[in-house]
């Protein structure tokens, strides 16, 4: 039986298919996007095998190369011929080309090299080849020759590799001590000294700097200086120990280098590693990425400060935007006379949501940072001038700017929630002798709290992914310290901070070492998505809890 096209159209079937198609496309896009960044980003941390081979391009000198294959692509033979590689004409039109990470930037000048696998000879995967991750100059690929303590070559009965690893572990321990002293203890003393300086300056400005006050300050300062001297001495000792060990290594093409073991983050022999070893190594690397500071212009190490900065900023933004948005919505919906003016305000609020975010950045810079910040500086922090305290981009201004950006969302959602509270419940409260304010506070606002959370969820989703305005009002590519630490006043609202979104931009497009940074762009993007998802899911969980509590009451 043939159903006519018209009947089929009338049955509504095409719309079902259209809808199903749209949903399917959406899901495929989301999953595909996540899968792409996950695969590209997470693959970076896997310890790939190191290939070693002779590479002889016709018409050029033969050389030995070693490294890990990062990616491959097809290029036309014509392009290669243009590049001066002699390829006979009868060979195929296209050639495979591979990007190999050869490391040893200090020796070769570049970490990566394009090669044509067709010209590789005597390929081998030597178990002895090692990868040394260094604090500077990227990875080193080569063979370990000897380990030295000062000028003395270590020759004990243990295998060379084992004593090398031992000394790396020892250096790592010292490095941690040094980090602790430099970052925390000396940081604390510096912060205290700075506070003393500001105190002195303040007294001076108020012309209260008497001799006794000065003597007191001098005394405190001397104490701190004394402490600093001790730390400096200890630091000197540590550095001496740290730099005592060396190792000699040979690159695959036979060049010998002597490097300090202090410069090594970790060394491993991927070709000799079993699968569990590799998995453990992989876990290590991922953890480092999530929990450590960045190294080498953000192309190595972790992105913890960026995660921390993002979360911190979003939390501060939420804390600022919620009360403002809720109060504004309550006023608009409950107290304001519903007339032309309120309608205009509503239109203005809705339009605010459509303003491009960079405009908020410009506004934040001009109004918050330059105007409000410098006014606050003049009033409250005159001792620090001409150095600005709040008169410069920082965490506080970034949070406030984003709060402003997300304010319309919270207002609209809260108003929506308030308008849905049944009139009967308000009347019930009023009939018991409650005033309007008491009714609002005890009944209406708790019942509208799920709607407020919905607004906040939307606000968080928007704010966490926003980058453009932040570049103007407080985000930097590398912040020297976290905005939350052990130094008074603990939460440093005036400090600049790192942000995952900006980090992606910086690593991807501002990095001196683009090839090395590319996988990190994917990994950071994945992490940004995960962070936003976690922030959102926790807000959704809170909202669902509230909804459960205040549900029913059929309108």
């Amino acid at each position: 039986m043939r159903i006519g096209l018209k009947n089929w159209y009338k049955s509504g079937e095409p719309w079902v298919w259209l809808n199903a198609g749209a949903v399917a496309i959406s899901i495929i896009m989301v999953v595909g996007l996540l899968a792409l960044i996950a695969v590209r980003g997470l693959g970076h941390f896997w310890p790939a095998d190191i290939i070693k081979a002779n590479y002889t391009v016709p018409g050029q000198e033969s050389k030995v190369i070693a490294g890990e294959i990062v990616e491959s692509e097809e290029v036309s033979a014509q392009r290669l011929r243009d590049a001066g590689i002699a390829i006979s004409a009868e060979e195929s039109e296209f050639f495979e080309r591979q990007l190999i990470k050869v490391g040893n930037r200090d020796i070769y000048g570049s970490d990566f090299q394009w090669i044509l696998p067709a010209f590789l000879e005597s390929i081998e995967f030597s178990e002895n080849i090692m990868v040394v991750e260094r604090r500077e100059w990227g990875n080193f690929y080569g063979f370990l020759k000897e380990v030295r303590e000062g000028d003395r070559v270590i020759l004990d009965d243990k295998p060379l590799w084992e004593s090398f690893q031992q000394r790396i572990a020892r250096a790592e321990g010292i490095h941690d001590d040094i980090y602790e002293i430099e970052k925390h203890q000396i940081g604390r003393i510096n912060a205290a000294l700075e506070r003393l300086r500001l105190k002195e300056r303040r007294l001076e400005l108020e012309s209260k700097l008497t001799n006794t006050a000065q003597a007191q300050l001098q005394l405190e300062r001397a104490e701190l200086q004394q402490e600093y001297k001790q730390l400096e001495k200890r630091l000197g000792e540590l550095y001496q120990q740290f730099n005592q060990d060396y190792f000699v290594a040979e690159t695959v093409d036979g060049r010998q280098v002597t490097l300090s073991i202090g410069s090594v983050v970790r060394a491993f022999q991927p070709n000799a590693m079993s699968l569990p070893d590799k998995v453990a190594h992989y876990g290590d690397k991922v953890w480092e990425f999530v929990a450590d500071d960045p190294r080498e212009a953000n192309t190595e190490g972790g992105i913890f400060p960026a995660i921390f900065g993002t979360v911190m900023m979003v939390i501060l933004m939420s804390v600022i935007v919620t009360p403002f948005g809720v109060i504004a919505a309550v006023y608009l919906r409950e107290y304001a006379h519903q007339g032309v003016v309120t309608r205009m305000i509503r239109i203005a609020v809705n339009n605010l949501a459509g303003v491009p975010s960079i405009v908020y950045g410009v506004f934040g810079l001009g109004f918050f940072v330059y105007f409000m910040g410098s006014t606050i500086d003049e009033t409250f922090f005159p001792e620090a001038l001409p150095a600005p305290t709040l008169g410069t981009p920082g965490l506080l201004w970034a949070s406030i700017t984003l709060a402003l950006l997300t304010l319309p969302v919270v207002i609209v959602a809260t108003e929506e929630g308030l308008s849905r509270i049944p009139r009967s419940v308000r009347e019930g409260s009023l009939a018991l002798g409650a005033t309007k304010a008491e009714t609002l506070w005890r009944v209406v606002l708790p019942m509208a709290s799920p709607a407020m959370m919905t607004g906040l969820i939307l606000a968080v989703a928007r704010a966490a992914g926003e980058v453009a305005p932040l570049m103007l009002v407080g985000v930097v590519k590398l912040a020297p310290s976290l905005p939350l630490d052990g130094n008074y006043p603990y939460l440093h609202l005036d400090q600049k901070f790192m942000h995952l979104g900006f980090h992606i931009y910086d690593v991807g497009f501002q990095s001196p070492n683009v090839e090395a940074a590319r996988p990190l762009v994917y990994a950071t993007a994945l992490l940004l998505v995960v962070v936003i998802a976690i922030l959102n899911l926790s807000a959704v969980a809170i909202r669902n809890h509230l909804r459960e509590k205040y549900k029913a009451l059929e309108v």
Binding site: Q338, E427, G428, A431, L432, A434, Y550, A552
Partner: protein
């Protein structure tokens, strides 16, 4: 939506009862000898006009609502009986463009005078609405709400009052084991009695009931009616109802309203058996559509 359905069912009832006056004996009502002149006045309404913007909804209403009696307002939909009820605790203040002139005296005090504390008035004149409207809180907190508003937070006092009020609303035995569960999990009838308990917890002088049983099933309705009977020894009760049998069952005095005017007000027995006005007779015998 629900309003329309109530109207519809009332219309059907009216159609069924066409040409049947209310048979007072069959309702199990004992004839009372009441006289409005000898009652103590609780609320003295005189010359009350009410406007929604330019539209007048109440015309020159004057009546004395007697103390510790049940007074019912009956009349067809839109006659202004709910509006009149809501003027008694100034609930109409919440409606934009609502204007009132005339006087309502409670204890010789005009409740519409300047400087009257409306919240205080509403505490003295409690109100129960057509649809149960418990707060999304526990049973206990619902009843304690009015006290907490007054700043009473001592647990001992609250416990006592909650128990007393729930017993007063004949709900204690049903909920005493789940005082701290959400009130929204209760049945409609229980919710309505909870709302009554919540209202009497603040010890008002007057209870205004705005069609308290119209959203409930017959058994719950019966319970509410029994409750009204129990409560009338302590409170002045004013009830608005669509249901004439209900008015005949529970009230001592009845006011019949039509088109915003008070047509007839008198003791329930006389009004239903021997109405003075033609309009009243037509209505109670079901001659109004």
């Amino acid at each position: 939506m629900s309003e329309a359905m109530v109207e519809l069912s009332t219309d059907q009832q009216l159609a069924d009862k066409k040409a049947h006056a209310i048979d007072m004996q069959s309702l199990g009502r004992v004839k009372q000898d009441l006289d409005i002149e000898s009652e103590t006045t609780c609320l003295d309404i005189s010359g009350l006009d009410l406007f929604y913007d330019d539209k007048q909804a109440l015309y020159d209403i004057s009546m004395n609502i007697p103390q510790k009696r049940v007074t019912s307002f009956i009349g067809p939909s839109g006659c202004g009986k709910s509006t009149l009820l809501r003027t008694l605790n100034r609930m109409n203040d919440l409606v934009d463009g609502c204007r009132v002139s005339g006087k309502i005296l409670l204890d010789d005090q005009d409740i519409y005078a300047k400087g009257v504390n409306v919240a205080d008035l509403r505490r003295r004149v409690g109100m129960v609405f057509q649809k149960p409207n418990p707060f999304p809180k526990s049973v206990y907190e619902n009843v304690a709400y009015g006290l907490r508003i007054q700043g009473i937070n001592k647990k001992r006092i609250l416990d006592e009052v909650v128990e007393w009020a729930l017993k007063g609303a004949a709900l204690w035995d049903e909920v005493k084991d789940r005082l701290h569960e959400s009130a929204l999990g209760m049945s409609g009838g229980q919710q309505q009695r909870l709302v009554i308990a919540r209202t009497i917890a603040v010890e008002p002088e007057v209870l205004l009931l705005d069609e308290p049983a119209s959203a409930l099933d017959p058994i719950s309705t019966l319970k509410i009616e029994e409750l009204i009977n129990d409560l009338k020894s302590k409170y002045t009760i004013v009830i608005v109802t669509h249901n004439m049998q209900q008015a005949a069952r529970v009230s001592d005095y009845t006011a019949f309203m039509y088109m915003g005017k008070l047509v007839e007000f008198g003791d329930t027995d006389s009004l239903f058996t021997n109405p003075k006005e033609k309009q009243t007779e037509d209505y109670i015998t079901g001659r109004y559509g």
